[in-house]
Amino acid sequence: MNVHATPKLTASETALVEVFSTRLSDLPGNEAVTLRRDTALEAIKRGLPTRKVEHWHYTDLRRLIGTVPAFDRTAKPEALPVLIGDSHRLTVSNGRAEKAENPDGVTIHRLKELFAKGELADQLIAGVDDSVGAINAAFVSDGFAISVADGVEVQNPIELQNLHAGGQAHSRFTITVGAGAKVTFLERQAGAGAALVSSIDKVVVGEGADVRFIILQEQSEDTTHLGKFEAEVGKNSNLSLFVMNVGGRLVRQEVHVAMPGEAAHFELRSVNLLANATHNDLTMVLDHSGYGTTSTELVRNIVTGKAQGVFQGQIRVAREAQKTDAKMACNSLVLSDEAEFSVKPELEIFADDVACGHGATVAEIDHAHLFYLMARGVPEKEARGLLVKAFLAEVIEELEDEALVTALEVRLENWFDEHG
């Protein structure tokens, strides 16, 4: 018997609960997995978070989630051509992982098969106020478990495609990178038609490994995208994460990184392009828990129309994590009067010998710069485009890979042509 007063559910919460009952028989998993799903559903039934919940203060999920679309079993989006040269492609189409081959030194399993055997059930445990985790745990239908063996240098990037054609798509990528291994992942989130998408990455970076992870989210403007990237970075290892958001109606991308290993290094670079009435929230929680761990975070945003942007960056330094060095910066360029960007940096430091800092700026296009370019004959729109590109160039060019830089710059240019 439930002793708590059951809150009155919103239409979208009710829809989620109802979808679950019709959907459950199709979802993979043995008893242990189903138990996790039920638990996650109970969390959803207690209501989605509102602005009263600290981590969701700037993104009132309950109000913003909007209509929850039904599943569309028939939809089958085609895999996209890979973004970079000879990437190894792994596609999840409408929540179904397609058959994949194993590149040298890499083992790949479909999650559906693992869930059926009851493996990875413990990954479906959502945290407190973890709505992304709960929605995904309840509905996740497939994805990939990828394991890179110790010491393997994976030649070509592994491209993870999570595609939908409207409706709902919930998937996961569970990744283990062995000691001393080196690998690049490029994750693409895309689709057409109104959709609710949740996607979770869980990455374990082994000792001395070097992992580069790029997330390119370019959903259509009627899609709710709930993403979460969780990683544990081992001793002497390196993880660089690049997140580009250039689409979606409501986007929440969470980044949770723990650095228990000594001298681990983490980098976050993010570019967020927001237009019209969209809402984009990048929330990072970073735990420096090992001795001598270092990190840098640089987030650059362009907001226009009536868009609302959010960056929450929390850096926690444990008592044992002496010699931590962490630097975080968030710079936003606001192109319209009605657009807004909210930044909440937080440092929680329990060690006494650390170097931590953060900075945030919100600015408009510099009129003196604009005048200079126009005085050379560059028409206003083009001049603004050059300045917007300049604002982001530094971050994008850090990626170095020419094909990747070009692909991202093309997206920036297209975005600016349409919204600038």
Binding site: A368, A375, G377, V378, L386, L387
Partner: protein, 251 residues
């Protein structure tokens, strides 16, 4: 080529009047020097000619080849051949100098109905122009004006002027921050561009620059008006007597 008639202008933000009834005529082929003490409105005049929004024209007109340019934005003025060499060129991080030059040159070509330059052709033009100004080619690989010394920035301005081939060149204190060698190179660059169909408005505080760029006419600006005009000997007179003597005389 340029006719400024009873021009009155103020700072848009706070309404401070800077230009107060300025008249000036510059013919094609002419080099007109504008001299005057600090605060006389010299730089403001250059910005107004280029179309900077921070200033508001309240009275009078600026005619360029017989047509008012007051309603044109800076890019449209540039497309018609007006060029301002800035006193303080902007540093623009993230915009590569070469990319900027290409976009600017092709914007002007487009406005004139010409095809964009092919890359090899563009590279050759830039290389030749940079060479004649004794510019280090590495500078062109940097973001626009970022980390350039004062002298390098001025050279970069003249480089742009050479490449964009304007008809009316406004030089705002191009001599400031230049040592004598750089001054000579910059002046040679300007002199090489002198031609019967091109006019120059050379704004300067000191006579020094005018030894290298010899003007046809000299105009003294004070409190937003031209208070005295003459030939190049007026500049020498100013050097001897100072602005105070001369402006006192004119008033």
């Amino acid at each position: 080529m340029l006719e400024i008639k009873n021009l009155h202008a103020r700072i848009a933000d706070d309404g401070t009047e800077i230009i107060r009834g300025l008249d000036l005529t510059v013919k094609a082929g002419e080099v007109a020097a504008i001299m005057g003490p600090n605060g006389s409105g010299k730089s403001t005049l250059s910005y107004i000619l280029a179309g900077r929004e921070d200033y508001e024209v309240t009275e009078g007109d600026i005619l360029y080849n017989g047509e008012s340019i007051l309603e044109l934005d800076p890019a449209e003025r540039a497309a018609r051949g007006i060029f301002l060499a800035f006193q303080y060129p902007m540093e623009i991080p993230g915009v590569a100098t070469m990319e900027f030059l290409k976009v600017a040159m092709n914007s002007l070509r487009k406005a004139r109905g010409e095809d964009p330059l092919k890359i090899p052709e563009f590279m050759k033009l830039v290389k030749n122009a940079a060479g004649s100004l004794e510019m280090n080619p590495d500078m062109l690989k940097r973001p626009l004006n970022v980390g350039f010394s004062g002298g390098e920035k001025k050279r970069a301005e003249i480089l742009q002027m050479k490449l964009l081939e304007p008809k009316l060149c406004v030089l705002d204190e191009t001599d400031s921050g230049l040592d004598i060698d750089a001054l000579k190179i910059v002046a040679d660059g300007v002199n090489a561009l002198r031609s019967p169909d091109r006019a120059f408005v050379v704004i300067t505080h000191y006579q020094r620059l005018l030894e290298h760029i010899v003007p046809d006419t000299v105009h003294v600006l004070s409190q937003g008006r031209v208070v005295k005009s003459g030939d190049k000997s007026l500049a020498l007179e100013l050097e001897t007597h100072g602005y105070a003597g001369l402006i006192g005389e004119a008033a």
